[in-house]
Each structure stands twice: as structure tokens, then as C-alpha cells.
Symmetry: C2
Subunit: 247 residues, 2 copies
């Protein structure tokens, strides 16, 4: 499933071939298993050959992020800011969906590459063009944060893996559920109301896309309200803004 590329010995490496191979290798074996040595092997080359095309592993990761960003699709900020922002966020979410490692890698990068900066700039542009003050646009970009990339602010990462994985018989699972309910009554209450199957607490049976859009729209609505009310940071804090002339 992973050694199908480059049986032919002489194809000449270049930066793009290295980056593309790294992306699909990470897709296949996971980011934690992606090593310079493993990637070199995949490309039929000695580990040190890679260092002619990327300075080090950090730069490899930066390059991989660039490859992903290129797939997000262009800015179409001609429309109103709100649907424009919404559309672009969801398109990023779509582009990153098949690269589960991308989130972790993007968040680990400290020095922003041009690709990252211009992606962020497109959001700043949508807000400013939409009539936001630079002040509000600034805070709103922070509030959006990683959601700009379509990241959920994950909490319930692996739906299946709550407490110990229960491989045992069904009655053991049921016993665990009772224990959970005893120890974490409120989570259990929430789970009971929304569980599509009763196997785990929160996380199982959640519609990720729904949860993402729920939070996104909550934020966008908040942005809209502050914009309408001509909020400025002089007052401090969204809820302490004095409404000016809403609707």
C-alpha cells in the first residue's frame, strides 16, 4: 500500500517530487511515522539525497503545508463578507479533510511561510472589504483562529477511544457505561440525549460537520453583531459593548 512509487531508479529528484511524495506518504502512514529516512526509501534514494532539496525536516514540513494550501482554491471575496468567509473556511476544511496530519503540522509551524501569510491576508481582506474597522478585523481574525483552516477546536479527538478500549464481551461494555454514568453524570446525560448508539459518551455519533458549522456560525453571528454595533476595542470585550443602534 505504500511502496508502489519509484521502482524505476533514475527519475531525478526535485523539491516538488519530494514534497508530493512526503504528503502522500504522510497520508498513508501518518505524520509520526514520516521520517527523512522513510521518505528517502519511498523515493528509492539514500536519506542524504533529500537534503539537496529541503534544508532539513522543518523545511520539508513547511513545504508540505504549502502543497495543502495550494488545494484550498482561490479567494472569491466579491460577495458579501459573511458568506464569503463562510465559503472559504468550509473550502479549507474540505481541502484539509483528507490530510488529518495537516492540522498538527500547521499548528506546529512557528515561522509563517508566504503561503500561510497570503492565506491569512485573504481573510483580512474579506473583513476590511466588508466594512470592518481594522481594529475589529484584527480581533475577529484572532477569534476565528484555527477555524480559518477549518479546524475544529478538538476536544473529543478519537470518538472510539474513551477510557480503555473495551474489547471484551457486551456485558463488560455495559458495565463500563454504568461506571461512566456514575463517575461523569453530566457527560452521561448529554450522551444519553444525543447518542445514536449508546456505546460511548460525547464524541461518538457526533456529526463533526454539524458541530463545526455550529461554532462557526455562532462566531460569524457575533462578528456581524459587533460590526453592526460599530464595536471598538476601547470598551473591551464583546459582551460589554454598548449597543449603538442595532437594526
Amino acid at each position: 500500500m505504500t511502496a508502489e512509487r519509484e521502482a524505476s531508479p533514475r527519475v531525478r529528484l526535485n523539491r516538488d517530487r519530494v514534497l508530493l511524495a512526503a504528503v502522500s506518504l504522510a497520508d498513508a502512514i501518518g505524520i509520526e511515522a514520516l521520517s527523512m529516512r522513510r521518505l528517502a526509501q519511498e523515493l528509492g534514494v539514500v536519506p542524504m539525497a533529500l537534503y539537496k532539496h529541503v534544508a532539513n525536516k522543518e523545511e520539508l514540513l513547511d513545504g508540505m503545508v504549502e502543497v495543502i494550501i495550494a488545494k484550498i482554491g482561490p479567494d472569491e471575496s466579491d460577495a458579501e463578507w459573511k458568506p464569503a468567509v463562510r465559503r472559504r473556511v468550509l473550502s479549507a476544511r474540505h481541502a484539509l479533510a483528507r490530510h488529518p496530519w495537516a492540522r498538527r503540522v500547521i499548528e506546529s509551524r512557528t515561522t509563517q511561510t508566504p503561503a500561510v501569510l497570503s492565506y491569512m491576508d485573504s481573510f483580512a481582506g474579506m473583513f476590511l472589504t466588508g466594512g470592518f474597522s481594522a481594529d475589529l478585523a484584527h480581533h475577529v481574525m484572532h477569534a476565528l483562529g484555527g477555524r480559518m483552516w477549518g479546524f475544529t477546536q478538538e476536544l473529543f479527538v478519537d470518538p472510539a477511544a474513551t477510557a480503555e478500549p473495551v474489547a471484551g464481551p457486551p456485558e463488560a461494555r455495559a458495565a463500563l457505561m454504568e461506571q461512566m454514568a456514575a463517575h461523569y453524570p453530566h457527560i452521561a446525560a448529554i450522551a444519553a440525549s444525543s447518542a445514536h448508539d449508546g456505546a460511548t459518551v460525547v464524541g461518538q455519533g457526533c456529526d463533526d460537520q454539524f458541530e463545526f458549522e455550529f461554532a462557526l456560525d455562532l462566531l460569524l453571528d457575533g462578528f456581524e453583531r459587533l460590526h453592526r454595533e460599530q464595536w471598538t476595542s476601547g470598551i473591551s470585550g464583546p459582551s460589554r459593548a454598548t449597543p449603538v443602534a442595532a437594526d
Copy 2:
């Protein structure tokens, strides 16, 4: 700065001593430099000695998170839900502030430990006690997400490290600023309005605490509105909720 602990040879290891040493070692040298071997050395012990007290490195990390959670301080949900949630989030933020590695570690854990689950349960409890339906409480927990721990959904991680670090003369920095403005005009516009010093774009001069509370209050206000309007997920999406009888 880092080899001051345990010169005395025979103090007998135990799980707590291992975990506490791991936490302060991570504080000192960073999480990526924390290895089983390094930790063993810090404790004046051979690497394999640790494996009597933690099964492996994963369990070490889980234990370190438990140590941090223990510092968050108790749930005081007797008050109204909104200030109670707000207070607990900010108290988590405070507790985690001096352990910059904690965020990454918490997010990397897939199997939730009892300590993590009961922390989450305390939030579920505040919403339910505050009169939220299990349905709304569920989505609201997701929307809160990592902010429950006081995490910002970071984007501008390292304030100083935008593009290449400019060690050169001031005129080189100025030239870089102009380049930035040319390539990323919207970011530059925002930066110009809020820059306390003009050195970098967004990130520099931001008051992290302000940005955090801005987004938090935006969400809490949204939660309050949906609660007031008796929102249910049947309708789908906060902005598409039909207001029922607000105020």
C-alpha cells in the same frame, strides 16, 4: 538550571516523583526535548528504571496532564452558569499558562483519562444546572472545545517569528516591512492600526489575554442567546434558529 535535582542516590522512585520531575523538566527544556532517557538522567537513574512506574512514554504524558489538571482548582458551579463557566475557563488558562507544552500534549492524547473526563464533566454540569437542554449543552461543549482549557485557537503562534528572523540592520527590517505590505496589504492594514511597535504584522503587540476573552465572551454571548431562544438542533445552525421569544 536543569541538573539540580537528585544528586542524592537512593531516594526510591515512585509514580508521583516521576511525573513531577517530568513536568518540571518539560517546563525547563521543552516538551520536544523531554525523553525517557533525559528524564532518567535527571532523576539519577538508568532509563529502564522509569518503566516500573509508567508503562511507556504515552502513559508518562497522560500522567503529566493529570498533574496539571490537579492545579486547576475546584468547580464552583453554585453561581450562575455564565460567570461560573467563564471563571473556570480563565482559571484553567491561568493554571496552564506556565506550562506551554500542556496544550500540545492534551491535544495529542486520544484516550481520555479519568482526570480529563471529570474536568469535562464539570462543564457539562454547569450548563445543565444552568438550564440548558442536553442537546444545546452538547453542541455548546463542542463549540467551546479547547477553549475549555483556556487554549486560544492559535494562529499567530510566535509573535517574533514572522518570515525570516531579521537580524540585520534597521534598514533591512524596514525593507522587509515594505515587502510585507506589498504582498499582504490587508494584514499590513490591520497591523498598522494596532501595532504598538511597527516591527511585525499581526501577532506582535497583541494582548493574548484580551484576544482570548474576546472570543470567549463572543461564544458565551452566543450560548446565552441560543439558550434564551430555546434553540434545538432540529433547526440546524445557530443563525438559522428562529427566535422564539427573546427578552
